[in-house]
Symmetry: C2
Subunit: 216 residues, 2 copies
């Protein structure tokens, strides 16, 4: 019985890993669509979000079925509960990439991001991509040291977000209110994307060690 | 065994109800603090968020312990899994009230909301309060008809949110970029607050009927 259980747990973990790969791709594509006003790519991200939602839905059903059939206790049960939460976080990260792609589509054929903010958006995307890259390792190998690192990477996201707001408030901002609203929301989407990644890393840390990450 | 289980399930449901009461109070207080530049009230909401977080944390532990001890299957198991999700949504609603209170504190002694937007913020608060009021009934009585209604109420939140953005983009907006950023984020917090309430209503609907709300 235990072997079947751990095989299924392993398969569930692989699905989480697949979700994190899809979410990374969605964010990278959404950022590219945003910066290059690529409508086709934006539409691709928007459509792909349904796939992530479906995987999330199926994964939850599999997890709940496994709970019902195998009746796990202690750490096995906590592991499955963590899976449900990680899957919800990943699904939400997909939504945020979807929001970014929708902003690109809304402003097409114009570019939603004024040149003065291009480099910050590139940095937000790069930092977020590196966070999801680490997240995949954390999920795959239950790597608690990397989980500890992620909090620092997220500080970088927050710093970039503050930098973005500073540009909006600076003298060089001549792009008006509509663009300021777009950029405020875009900044928020990237920031929340990072928050959800940290939340997943925390769950892995807790599942492995039974403790919360100290700084939290 | 079943009676103990259902007694505990009932107690868990009461805690969800208590959380929804606290979340409603937090939002009402946060809005009042925001509109009247009441620093003390803002601080109260900010501090009270720790209480909501603690209840969320304890509730999750109780739910997982109940799963481990009673090994529920089928609808009882789905019920407990729903509890975990509803508790996470309520905790997030508390965070959003906390964000609103922090905006009030950040702009103190000034008022973060320009007069031209006061009535929209009042309406967002009123609609959100009525949504959480219904949500309490939905949680308490597993009232699926009310759960269906909530989606419509949330449309009103979205309409108010669009109205807010329209004011920011209109000619009468003379309050500059900083205030536009504040109001964009505030609008987003209220909108997300409504989204989480709908998500909870959907889970109750699903738990009772075994089906998803048709319009979704």
């Amino acid at each position: 019985m235990r072997d079947i259980f751990h095989d299924e747990l392993e398969a569930i973990n692989e699905t989480l890993l697949r979700m994190s790969g899809l979410v990374k791709e969605a964010l990278t594509d959404a950022t590219k669509a945003l910066l290059t006003s690529d409508l086709q790519l934006a539409e691709k991200v928007i459509a792909a979000d349904d796939v992530i939602d479906q995987i999330h839905h199926d994964l939850d059903n599999r997890t709940i079925n496994l709970m019902a059939r195998q009746q796990p206790v202690a750490s096995d049960l906590r592991n499955l509960v963590s899976t449900l939460r990680m899957s919800a976080d990943l699904e939400r990260m997909g939504d945020l990439a979807h929001h970014i792609a929708k902003t690109a589509r809304m402003r097409f054929p114009n570019c939603a991001v004024p040149e003065v903010l291009t480099s910050i958006i590139i940095d937000l995307d790069k930092t977020a991509a590196s966070i999801v890259e680490k997240l995949s390792t954390i999920i795959q190998y239950k790597d608690v040291n990397r989980a500890l690192e992620l909090d620092k990477d997220d500080d970088e996201m927050d710093a970039l977000h503050r930098k973005l707001i500073a540009v909006l408030l600076g003298d060089e901002w001549t792009y008006g209110i509509e663009s300021a609203i777009d950029m405020t929301l875009l900044g928020r989407y990237y920031e929340r994307f990072g928050d959800h990644a940290v939340s997943i890393a925390n769950r892995v840390y807790f599942t492995v060690t039974g403790e919360y990450i100290p700084s939290l």
